[in-house]
Symmetry: C2
Subunit: 236 residues, 2 copies
């Protein structure tokens, strides 16, 4: 595992891909030609963030105490602000948000429904892990966007997701209950599979050459996912 100690900003809850490696670690794989067109890219990312918002809002409603509810409402607000930032980019390019997002709704709704989980903790873990993984993924894909939209979107998606509260609630519950820990470890493993499929489907051409070049990126995404699991005391 690459050491990123000392590079991690104090209050960032997720080691972002872009801030991660040591200089020697990698040549960054160029996958810019695997990025979809700007509008479909923005639409998928926007619809995904709307889903994260809805999941977090539902976690707010079912939170067991007011402090958690309060913290989760802030995290929901962060996801919503990413969503609206992407919506602004869509409008800036002349797209009608509801129209451009519509084609991606069925698959993402299905994904979200599958990953809602059986209780509040599974829901939190989904928000944390899937939100982290797909933010990382969309940041990575943003490299291939034309003009200045790529850096702007990467900046937006890389903002603090406010998920400290999720980590805090999950870590406390996991430490207190070994049964929960093993159930959540299973849930986390299942999530990563479903989430990588969503990531894969966001990319246009699935040629053999595309497949082989995307592979190292998926390896990076999984490594970051594993660190999130480790941070919670879960075996990935």
């Amino acid at each position: 595992m690459i050491s990123w100690i000392g590079r991690r900003p104090l209050r960032s809850e997720i080691p972002r891909l872009k801030a991660r490696g040591t200089p020697k670690a990698t040549k960054k794989v160029d996958i810019s030609d695997l990025t979809p067109e700007a509008l479909p890219y923005l639409a998928q990312a926007a619809y995904f963030e709307l889903g994260v918002f809805e999941s977090l809002a539902s976690a707010v409603s079912t939170a067991p105490n007011l402090a958690a509810r309060e913290g989760l409402s802030a995290a929901a607000g962060r996801a919503l602000s990413k969503h609206h930032g992407l919506i602004n980019e869509i409008r800036r390019r002349g797209g009608e948000p509801a129209v451009v997002m519509a084609p991606f709704a069925p698959a993402l709704d299905h994904y979200r429904q599958k990953t809602t989980g059986a209780d509040w903790y599974e829901l939190l873990l989904s928000c944390y892990l899937a939100g982290g993984l797909l933010d990382d993924f969309f940041i990575r894909l943003a490299d291939g966007l034309p003009g200045d939209v790529g850096p702007r979107v990467a900046q937006l998606l890389g903002e603090d997701a406010g998920t400290d509260v999720l980590v805090h609630e999950l870590a406390a519950a996991i430490a207190a209950d070994p049964t929960l820990a093993s159930r959540l470890a299973m849930w986390g493993r299942r999530l990563v599979g479903d989430t990588l499929l969503v990531a894969r489907s966001a990319m246009p051409l699935q040629t053999a050459s595309g497949e082989s070049r995307i592979e190292p990126v998926f390896t990076e995404l999984i490594a970051a996912h594993t660190r999130r699991m480790d941070g919670l005391g879960l075996t990935a």
Copy 2:
């Protein structure tokens, strides 16, 4: 009805009390001594806005189309940003948000549960009417807060609530279905009663003198409520 045509900013969906009257209309009743202490005031207003956020987020999840969902998510974001603005004021005064809000949770939860409504349209109407009325009410009470917190809070609560989308969805549905119109008119009448009770309970002393001085304020709140109902084509 007082004419406020020509005074209404183009995209404001609610004629705010502070921007309403014509010069001749009223001497503003001074109720500043009926305002609770700053922390309980901020806590109640913050918890109320959290409830509005949760109701709107739940309306997002059940919206019949993506355009409505998108618009409602923006309205939810506005309520959330009012909530977090109030939370910041609480922290600024050394309060712990979850602690200071806790005493107000049971009554406000009960109110929100009673006013959720039987379907999506009743929920939208609740968000629009109760949100409008209680924003107006808390703005009015803010007069009595010490220092500069009053104007700052009034400014925050007076910001555009993004409820154009609620008005649009409701007005279209009401125009299309007279049965819905009469059901929603009944629902609106019931809401105003429950909401005024919540407003009343937010004030500390309920002496005979307090009662008589608060009466004109309630009359103002009801007048603004009636205009909202009229605007939707509902008989108040």
